[in-house]
Subunit: 441 residues, 2 copies
Amino acid sequence: MPGDKIINVSVRDVRFPTSLEQHGSDAMHTDPDYSVAYVVLETEAALKGYGLTFTVGRGTEIVVCAVKALSTLVVGKTLEEITGDFRGFYRLLSSDGQMRWIGPEKGVIQLATAAILNAVWDLWARVEGKPLWKLLVDMDPAKLISCIDFRYITDALTEQEALDILVKAKAGQKTREEQMLREGYPAYTTSCAWLGYTDQQLTQLCSDALAQGWTKFKVKVGADLQDDIRRCSLIRKLIGPDKTLMIDANQRWDVNEAVTWVTKLAEFHPLWIEEPTSPDDILGHASISKALAPFGIGVATGEQCHNRVMFKQFLQASALQFVQIDSCRVGSVNENLAIILMAAKFNVPVCPHAGGVGLCELVQHLILFDYISVSASLSNRMCEFVDHLHEHFKSPTNIRNAHYIPPVDPGFSCEMLEESVKKHQYPEGEVWRAIEKQGKL
Amino acid sequence: MPGDKIINVSVRDVRFPTSLEQHGSDAMHTDPDYSVAYVVLETEAALKGYGLTFTVGRGTEIVVCAVKALSTLVVGKTLEEITGDFRGFYRLLSSDGQMRWIGPEKGVIQLATAAILNAVWDLWARVEGKPLWKLLVDMDPAKLISCIDFRYITDALTEQEALDILVKAKAGQKTREEQMLREGYPAYTTSCAWLGYTDQQLTQLCSDALAQGWTKFKVKVGADLQDDIRRCSLIRKLIGPDKTLMIDANQRWDVNEAVTWVTKLAEFHPLWIEEPTSPDDILGHASISKALAPFGIGVATGEQCHNRVMFKQFLQASALQFVQIDSCRVGSVNENLAIILMAAKFNVPVCPHAGGVGLCELVQHLILFDYISVSASLSNRMCEFVDHLHEHFKSPTNIRNAHYIPPVDPGFSCEMLEESVKKHQYPEGEVWRAIEKQGKL
C-alpha cells in the first residue's frame, strides 16, 4: 500500500517508580521500577506503530541503545515488504552478521527485537483495522506459518505439523471467538501477594479480590521458608480449599533446594511452582518436575525463557507443565507463534506471564489467539493479571469478573498516553526530577 | 592495601575493519569487524586494570552502554573488598535487582560483566606482580573456590567436590608448571581456512602453517556441502592422515541437518564438529553427539554458551565432548573456574575458543591453569590460535612450535597499545574516518 514505508523509529526510556511502594517485589527483584523501552514507528503516510519491551529500571537505557542499533535494519522498509516475508525480516533482525554475536536471540538484543517487532505487528493490525488477536485469528494458516522462523526447532515441530495444527483447529473457531467476546479469557491475579507486602496488606487485597470475583491467586515465595508457610497458610484460609493457588519463587533456588522447599509448601496445594530455579536450567526443571509430580504440583516457567530453542527443550524434556509465554522477552508475535504451536504439539497448556507495564495489554491478544485458533481448550489455562499502571495506556485491559474481555481497538494495545510517557521519561521526566529533588531513590 | 580504591571505570568502543579482507568469516558471521569493548579501571593510587570483551562490529556500542551501567557497582570499591569476597562481588554484578532482568547472566549484560571482571582480575594480578595464570596456580584452593558463585550448579558440582579436585591436582603441579614454561601449551590454528578464503589462499596458508610446525587445523564449514567436501579434501591431502582436522559450522544447521551434513564429511576424519546448531540447544547437541559417536566425531561448543548453568547441562546431558571456554562470553575468570571444574568432574577435556581480538591473549592464562592445577592432562586438549591483531597488545601471545609459551608480564595480557586504541576507536578514530571517506564499508 502507498505510503507504508517506515521512515522513522523513535525509542524512549520510560520508568515508573514502583519500588517506592514495593509493588512487583519478589525474591530476586527486590526493588523493581517497572519500565519500558517504548518504540514508535512512523511511515511516510504518517501512520504509526507502537511497541514496547518491559524492563525493571536500571538497564533500560541499554535496551534503548539496542533498539537504536536495530533500527537501521527497519528504516526504509515498507510494511508490505516486511509482512510479505515476515520470516525473512525476523531473520534479518535476529541474525545480523555482526549483532547476533552479542545475543544471539537472547538478553538485551532479543528484548530490543521484541520492542521493534511488537511495533510492526501493531502497525500491521492498525492498517488492517483489527485488534491483533483478530488479525491472527482471521489470518490464513499458511500466512501465519510464513511469519515463523523454524530455524533450530524443526526437530520438534516442522512447518507441515504447525500447519496441520492450525488447520485442524479451524473447526469450532467461530464458536470460540463468540464465547471469548461474550465471557472473556480466564485470568488469575498476582496483585495480592508481592513479597514486600505485609500480612495485613495481603489479607486486605485478597479479601477485596475475592469480592471482585477472582478465583485464582498467585503468591510470591522463596526468600524465607517460615514466611512462605505463614503467607500460604493465610491465603489458603482466606480463599478456601476449592480456589486455585499458585506459588512463584522467581529463580531463587538451586535444584535440590527447590524440591525440598516446595515439598514443605505442598500442604497448601499449589497448582504450580513458578520459576523454581535458573530460567536456563532445562534439566534442572525436569528434575524438579519429576520430584514434585507425586504431590500434584506442576512446574511453570517462561517469563525469562529467551527464545523458541529454549522452550523447545523445556517441552522435549518434560521440564514444565505450564508454558508461560511473555510478549516482550522473545521475538514478538513471530516467535510466540512458534512457542504456542510447539506447546500445542506437546499438549502442554499455555498460561501467559503478564503484569509489569503493558504486558497484560499485549499478551491478552496472544492467549485469545491460542484458545480460538490453536489449543481450543481452557483446561488448566489462565492468563496472569496484575492491576498496575493500566491507566497509562490508550486501550487498557478490560477485566470483567476475573476475565480478560477481548480488545476491540485496532492494533496491539501498545500505545501509551503521550502525557504519561513524557512525565515518566528517564531521567528527564517530571516524575523523576521530583524524586531526585526529594532524594527518595 | 592503601590506594586500591577504584575511582574510575572508562570504556571505549574499539573496532578493526577485518571484514574488508574476510578474516574471521564463517557461515553465520559473514562480515565481522573484530572489536572490543575496552575497559580501564583506575585506582586512587593510579594503578590500572585492563579488561575487554570481544564483539564483531555493530552492537559494540550496546556493550559499552552496559559497561557504563554496571560501572556504578564498581566505582568506590577497593580491590581488597572485591577479592576478599569475590563471590559476593560477582553476585552483585550478575544479580543486581534491576539489571538482572535484561539478562540474567546472558547476552549483552554478561559480555559487559566479563569486560569489567577481566579488568579486575588484571588489576589483581598486577598488584600481585604475577601473570594471571601464575596468580591462579599459586592461589590457595579454598581462596579459588571463594571466587566462584555456585548458585544453580550445586546439583552438578558442590563446593566440597570442587575443592577436592583442586587439592588432588596439587600432586605434580610443580612439574607441570615447569613443563609449560619449557614447552608451552599445545595450540591449533584456525587462520588457514576461513569461509571467505579462496582455495588458493587456503593451500598457501596451510602449507605455510605446516612449515611452521602446526599439526592441528580447523576448517570453517556449513555454507555449501560441495564446497565443504572440496575444502576438507584439499586440507586433508595437504596435512596428511596423521595430523588433526576439526570442522566448525558456527551454528548453521538444524539438528537433523547437522547429522546428515557431518556424516558426509566423516571420510575426512574430523576430530570434532564445532557449533553444529544453536548454542542454546543442549538436547540437540546431545542428539548430534549420539549420532556422530559411531564415526568417531565429537561435538565441541562453548564460544556462545552464555553461562555456567548452560555448560552444566551440556555436561550432564553428554551433549559435548570438548568444552570450549571463552574468556569474554561468560562472567570472566570467576565463571570459567566453575566451568573448568565441572569439566574436570565430568572428565571432558577443555579446549578453549580464541581468536578475535585479545581472546588468545586472555584464554591462554585459563588453559595453563587448567593443565597445571586441574586436569593435569594434555590428552585430546589444545587451545585455539588465530594469528590476527596481536600487534595491538602490550604483551602479545608468544607462539613457539605451535605452542602457547606462558606469559611472564604481570596481569591478564589485556592491555592494548594506546595508539592502537585511539586509531581504532569507533567511529572517531582515524582508521574509521579514513574508511568513511573512502566509502568502503
